[in-house]
């Protein structure tokens, strides 16, 4: 029995806290969702910050589509991963294939094909995704799988997914920390990086693999729709609040975690109070959007407020 059934927004947190401190033996579906979403949120925000700074967000969009073919390829190699849980090896294979295919094909089109870059990226990701959709539909004999992939299915999450999510988070965190200054310099000034002997190619590829890795985990948790939002939204929110790199990373990770928490609670609330099941992933995206625009609005009003104050100060009082 799911202890969260029938809870509304506030009692959700009540149940959550009490279960946290009682360490009950079995984990509830809502909690699995929560842990996975927080995990992928943290990973995405971490990687996403660098993507936003490097202006590579559309590459994340591209990879979020091509990863489907990577998953299919991993499935063909290892025999698992298409439906049900994804093992760590399958995940790694899938990410590698994704990153490799995308970059090699794009380079082929821009290099030998002499095609302009934006067109190359567009052609590569739409083609690979189209092939992926066709293959998955044929393999699973499910005509609606395309739709399910877009919308995701948070209720089908499994305990194993939690381990996977946090393994990926650990990997991301470790690599970013280890190579922090390399990521910083290749993002800011790739020319200096290369001429200092730092291989921009290596770090770009590494970043691409991390994007693919994270995106696949997000994708399996909440579908295509959330991947890009999670990479881009929290960093942009954080950017409004700070001008320094380390705080930027931490605030975007924090924002992602908070939004994940709130969205699971909201999803349960709406289900309980209005008997209306909504896609948790979609709620998350909407929350991120709301946060962002509210923040911008507040900032603008605040600025206008400040300006009004300064104007009234300069007008002499008679």
């Amino acid at each position: 029995m799911n202890p969260y059934t029938g809870t509304d927004f506030f009692s959700f947190f009540g149940v959550l806290f009490s279960r946290l401190f009682s360490w009950s033996s079995s984990i509830a579906t809502d909690e699995i969702q929560l842990l996975v979403l927080i995990g992928v949120g943290l990973s995405s925000a971490l990687i996403g910050t660098f993507l936003v700074l490097k202006q590579m967000t559309m590459l994340a969009n591209s990879l979020s589509h091509t990863l489907l073919l990577g998953i299919v390829a991993a499935y063909l190699i290892t025999g698992s991963g298409l439906v049900g849980s994804l093992g760590l090896t399958s995940l790694l294979i899938a990410s590698l294939i994704t990153a490799l295919c995308t970059s090699l094909l794009t380079q082929f089109l821009t290099g030998s094909g002499k095609l302009q870059e934006d067109a190359s990226i567009g052609i590569v990701f739409t083609t690979l995704f189209a092939i992926g959709v066709v293959l998955v539909t044929l393999f699973t004999r499910n005509a609606h799988i395309g739709t399910e992939m877009v919308m995701g299915n948070s209720d089908a999450l499994h305990v194993d997914d939690i381990w996977l999510t946090y393994a990926v988070l650990l990997l991301n965190g470790a690599l970013i920390t280890l190579f922090f200054k390399e990521f910083k310099i290749t993002a800011f000034d790739p020319g200096l990086a290369r001429s200092s002997g730092i291989s921009t190619n290596f770090f770009n590829y590494l970043l691409m693999i991390l994007i693919a890795l994270t995106a696949i985990v997000v994708f399996r948790a909440v579908g295509l729709v959330l991947v890009l939002a999670f990479f881009v939204g929290p960093p942009l929110i954080a950017r409004e609040l700070t001008h320094r790199l380390a705080p930027l990373l931490f605030i975007s990770m924090g924002t992602a975690a908070v939004c994940a928490l709130l969205s699971v609670a909201l999803s349960r609330h709406v289900l309980t109070v209005y008997q209306a099941p909504f896609s948790t992933g979609a709620i998350l995206v909407t929350l991120i959007g709301l946060f962002y625009f509210t923040l911008i609005l507040i900032k603008r009003l605040y600025k206008r407020g400040l300006m009004k104050k300064s104007v009234s100060v300069t007008i002499p009082n008679n």
Binding site: L53, Q55, K114, L178, F179, K181, E182, K184, I185, A187, F188, D189, G191, L192, A193, R194, S195, S196, G197, I198, R239, T242, H243, R244, L245, L248
Partner: protein, 258 residues
């Protein structure tokens, strides 16, 4: 010509080919060390391409490049690069101090964090360019001249023997330009070799003692007094139709285009 340790830069039959206008064609020259070298030529002459090819930022089609007789990979720690200011996103969330400290990243190697000595050196470099009071300012809040001085400070931190600078004086006021040139002169007096892509013919004779004059192919290299003559300038800045045509045909033939 090969492996001569006393020449700062030795280039042999360098050809660089993109799909954009800039092409470098069969360049060969040698520059002795300790010079303050100006790289001049009209727009699209390939000046930036030369720097990029030399610094391993683009793949040349053919030719060899040597610094003190060695290839780039062996001596990259002795070379500093000051790119064009526009090549960097100044909205990036770092401070002036962070930017200057990046000059040490190459030397530190992977997995190492900047040490106290590196930070002290960064502070000293900022003092030398007169920017120590702005050390913790966000780079987006700096003026063009201040940004350029930051780049110089960063280059100083690289503790190199050869410095390459790509159009450092664009959009910079005269006072800052003079200040920077003063700093560069100090470097030269220490025996460093400086290469500067320069756009303003009026100040060439004042600043540089050695010139590389190019327009797709090499027009001339040598002491400023010998190279900076009306005849050679005209040759460089005039239209070299035949060379351009030949270069274009050559590129087409090697890539199979008609």
């Amino acid at each position: 010509m090969n492996g001569n340790p006393s020449s700062a830069l030795c280039i042999n039959h360098l050809t660089v080919n993109y799909d954009t206008r800039s092409v470098l064609w069969d360049l060969s020259f040698e520059v002795p060390s300790g010079r303050f070298v100006g790289i001049i030529g009209p727009n699209g002459a390939g000046k930036s391409s030369l720097i990029k090819a030399v610094l391993n930022l683009v793949e040349p089609l053919s030719g060899s490049i040597e610094f003190f007789g060695k290839p780039f990979k062996e001596v990259s720690h002795r070379i500093a690069y000051v790119p064009q200011r526009s090549s960097v996103d100044w909205d990036f969330p770092i401070t002036a101090f962070d930017l200057v400290l990046m000059g040490r990243y190459g030397k530190l190697g992977v997995l190492k964090w900047p040490r106290a000595a590196d930070r002290a050196a960064a502070r000293r470099a900022l003092e030398m360019v007169g920017m120590d009071h702005l050390a913790h300012r966000q780079i987006s809040q700096l003026s063009g001249g201040e940004q350029q001085r930051l780049f110089i400070a960063r280059a100083l931190l690289q503790e190199a023997d050869i410095y390459f600078m790509d159009e450092p004086f664009i959009g910079v006021d005269m006072a800052t330009e003079k200040a920077i040139v003063g700093l560069l002169d100090l470097l030269r007096k220490e025996g460093k070799t400086l290469f500067v892509v320069h756009h303003d013919l009026n100040t060439v004779e004042q600043y540089f003692d050695f010139l590389i004059l190019l327009n797709t192919s090499l027009i001339a290299t040598g002491a400023t007094s010998e190279v900076f003559t009306p005849e050679l300038i005209r040759r460089a800045y005039g239209k070299n139709f035949l060379i351009d045509e030949a270069a274009r045909l050559s590129k087409n033939k090697t890539s199979g285009m008609r």
